[in-house]
């Protein structure tokens, strides 16, 4: 796989705050790469280092085959950036800001720009000072996504967008990947990540703690099962990979979580008891993220902190 972004052992400190702590990130050409992690994990810092806005303290970083700091200007012609909380010049109109940011990067496809202004329902004649948060964000999105470049660095691009605009955004990202563009998408919106990303990296305390395709990450998560049975449920607690068992008084109904690797053993065990109903909530990334977003620090050996029980939306099994 050709890497569009590759960092090895990236380190960045602000005074005593260690923002990046040996970050290894790899983004292949043509993929939409989710970049997820709790507040303050170092996502924006990583992106700013990749943009040459911050200088790394250690490690290696290559971007589109170049050095993000030294080759900043020439690399920027080949990428577009959408910040999460964009600040614009109060006395410029939205249209002027879009044209400015677009044209300073390189040639602008006016048709595409107008199309996106239309699709995002943006009024380009308003002064930037009078835009709402979401509309200001749209200005940055249109300026960034209207350009035809190789790489798009999107740092929480949809913060403040309404659900309708969120959908438009996802469509546009699909169009970009259809053209062969690569996207690094930092986000807190898990449904967005699930809908768009081929692969995700989860960052915590300045290092990557989990990396892989969505399918492989789902594998790490637990499935929630709710069963009612003909005979009393016994021995569930003792089964490997089973957690957080809650049973009714008569022990004929239970809810619990099963690690993906042990699902088979649990189903065999249940088979002997006589299953009346069985519902399972499919594994979602949410659980995995919540585990990594939790307040306890990640363990130094890289193993996951155990999940705490929490209410879950139950869905019927397929």
């Amino acid at each position: 796989m050709e890497h569009v972004i590759r960092t090895q052992g990236l380190v960045k400190a602000f005074g005593r705050t260690q923002a990046l702590n040996g970050l290894d990130l790899e983004v292949g050409r043509g993929e939409v790469h989710g970049f997820l992690g709790p507040n303050g994990a170092g996502k924006s810092t990583t992106i700013r280092v990749l943009l040459g806005l911050l200088r790394k303290d250690g490690g290696h970083a290559t971007l589109l085959g170049g050095d993000p700091w030294r080759d900043a200007v020439s690399l920027h012609r080949r990428l577009a950036y959408v910040p999460g909380d964009v600040q614009l010049w109060p006395n410029l109109s939205g249209g002027e800001a879009i044209d400015l940011l677009g044209a300073l990067r390189g040639p602008v496809d006016v048709g595409r720009r107008d199309e996106l202004v239309e699709r995002f329902q943006l009024d380009p004649t308003k002064r930037c000072s009078t835009y709402s948060k979401g509309n200001r964000q749209k200005v940055a999105i249109v300026a960034g996504l209207a350009s035809d470049v190789e790489l798009y660095l999107l740092d929480e691009p949809t913060s403040g967008l309404d659900p309708l605009m969120e959908t438009v955004f996802q469509e546009v990202v699909h169009e970009i990947t259809a053209r062969g563009g690569t996207v690094l998408l930092s986000s807190h919106i898990l449904t967005e990540a699930e809908a768009l990303c081929d692969r995700v990296s989860i960052i915590r305390d300045g290092r990557i703690v989990e990396q892989g395709t969505l399918a492989s990450l789902r594998h790490l998560t637990r499935t929630t099962l709710h069963v009612t049975t003909r005979h009393p449920l016994d021995g569930l607690d003792g089964l490997p990979g089973v957690h957080d068992v809650v049973t009714t008084h008569d022990r004929r109904a239970a809810g619990f979580e099963v690690e993906a690797d042990h699902l088979d053993g649990v189903v065999q065990h249940l088979g002997g008891i006589g299953v009346l109903t069985l519902t399972s909530a499919p594994p979602t990334l949410e659980e995995l993220f919540l585990r990594h977003y939790g307040s306890e620090p990640a363990r130094p050996d890289g193993t996951d902190v155990p999940a705490t029980p929490r209410p879950r939306r139950a869905r019927t099994s397929r």
Binding site: R48, L51, G52, L53, L54, R55, A72, V73, S74, H76, R77, L79, Y81, P83, D85, V86, Q87, L88, W89, P90, N91, L92, S93, G95, E96, A97, I98, D99, L100, L101, A103, L104, R105, G106, P124, T125, K126, R127, S129, T130, A140, A143, L153
Partner: protein, 546 residues
Amino acid sequence: MTTTRPLAGSWRLVRLAVRRDRTVLPVWIASITVLTWAVVASYAATVPTEADRIATATLSASNPMTRIFDGPASGASLGAMSLVEGYKVFAILTALMSAQAIVRHTRADEETGRAELLGSAPVGRHARLCAALVLVLGANLVLGVTTATAVAANGLAWSGAWAAGLAVAGTGWVFAGVAAVGAQVLSTARGANAVAGGALGVAFVLRAIGDLRGEITDGGLALVSAWPSWLSPLGWGQQIRPFYQDRWWIAGLFVALTAALVAVAAMLTDRRDLGSGMVPARRGPARASRWLISPLGLAWRIQRGVLLAWLVSVAVFGAVLGSMGDTLEDYLAENATVRQMLLSLSPDADLMDLFFALIMALVGLACAGYTVQALLRMRSEEVSGRLEPLLATAVGRRRWLIGHLLIAGAGTVLLLTVSGLASGLTYGAITGHWTEGVGGFLAAALVQAPAALALGGLVLTVFGLLPRLAAPITWSALAAALVMGQLGALLDLPQWLLDVSPFTHVPLVPAEAFTPGPVAALCAAAILLGALGVATFRRRDLVIGA
């Protein structure tokens, strides 16, 4: 509830404001106090005997330049004389301290969105303005007390010392009120500060006219100012006449004007929405014009408003100063003592040339204020986060910087040219001496440019090396240059210290010959400091957020 209790929550906001300003205001107050103490202390050394004092007081009552710059002579006592000389600088610094603090806690908070956060808490509609005023008016009371103490500490009578404290604190009150109104009318902190700065200029000019046209009394030792001085809060501060008349009733003028300004500000607060000014935003074009799309084009768009405001101000200010020329000529023709005194500054000089040079030295310092403001704009672009998406395009850091440098540099030269022309043309129109007027003022103005640009170089260096401290360091440097230029000789500051100020090295053109050496050195300093700033900025992290 916010409409029924408009001041709810004020007290908590006052405590927050005090906490936020716990370094800035004490530093201002301490600096002004120490300066006051030093001015009074040094003055005794320059006029040791009674005879010296009488000679100096007589001269300063009749000398038109002293009248323009220092104000009305008020007798031959040490206290009165030192305060006449020092008040202008104390007053300018106090006005700046007060206006900036008010804007910091009102309009600047609205710009950053902090106010919105507070506005959602149980905080009344007027609470923020009220808290800012309590903080700043209170700080001025403290300053009044410390100033009085500094004066009295030199062994002078407490009554005069209190009068001096009142003059300083009262000035601070009025400019706090001016800034409070400015912060309601204009939608940016920059604009609100500019209103206060403009008011300060107008106040200075009004009292300069009034004092120039005043009448000598008291056996030649004092001046009765003409009515324009009474239109100016800076004039009021001087008319208190500490150690001469101690006119306490002027406190009533300060309080009344401050109260009126506060009432206007409060009324405006009721009539507008949070975040907006009184002037509604218009719509703009849907597309950017070709001129906008370059780092220079954008820098021009960002900077042009400030430059335009400065151009208008210096044109008016210059014209007023130029129009004082004929009165001056008459005085100089009549008064041999004054001629002697002025010639001691520069023996071979033509007196009018000396006038051109001294006036433009002050204007040069004011224009350096523009240079600093325009260059610090780069820092506010960076802090606010607006620079980040720009540098993520194919614009390099140097190209971005150069756009702003060109405008700040060319703007400084343009301002000096316009003020020289405005002074020269009005002077020419009034006296008929066109060539001397225009040539003299223009030369005197333009020779200030290298010094202003050298200060600009310092701004760049600090911007590159210590971005978080860029604004406080460079504004303090400008204030220090003002103190050294106006009070340096009196304070008997060591030459090496005076030499730190670029304005010390500006030749008194056209009274003195143009000396290329110092001017070239200033240009070199500007270029070297500027280059250092560019180089360090290109190597550092972007520092977003204060």
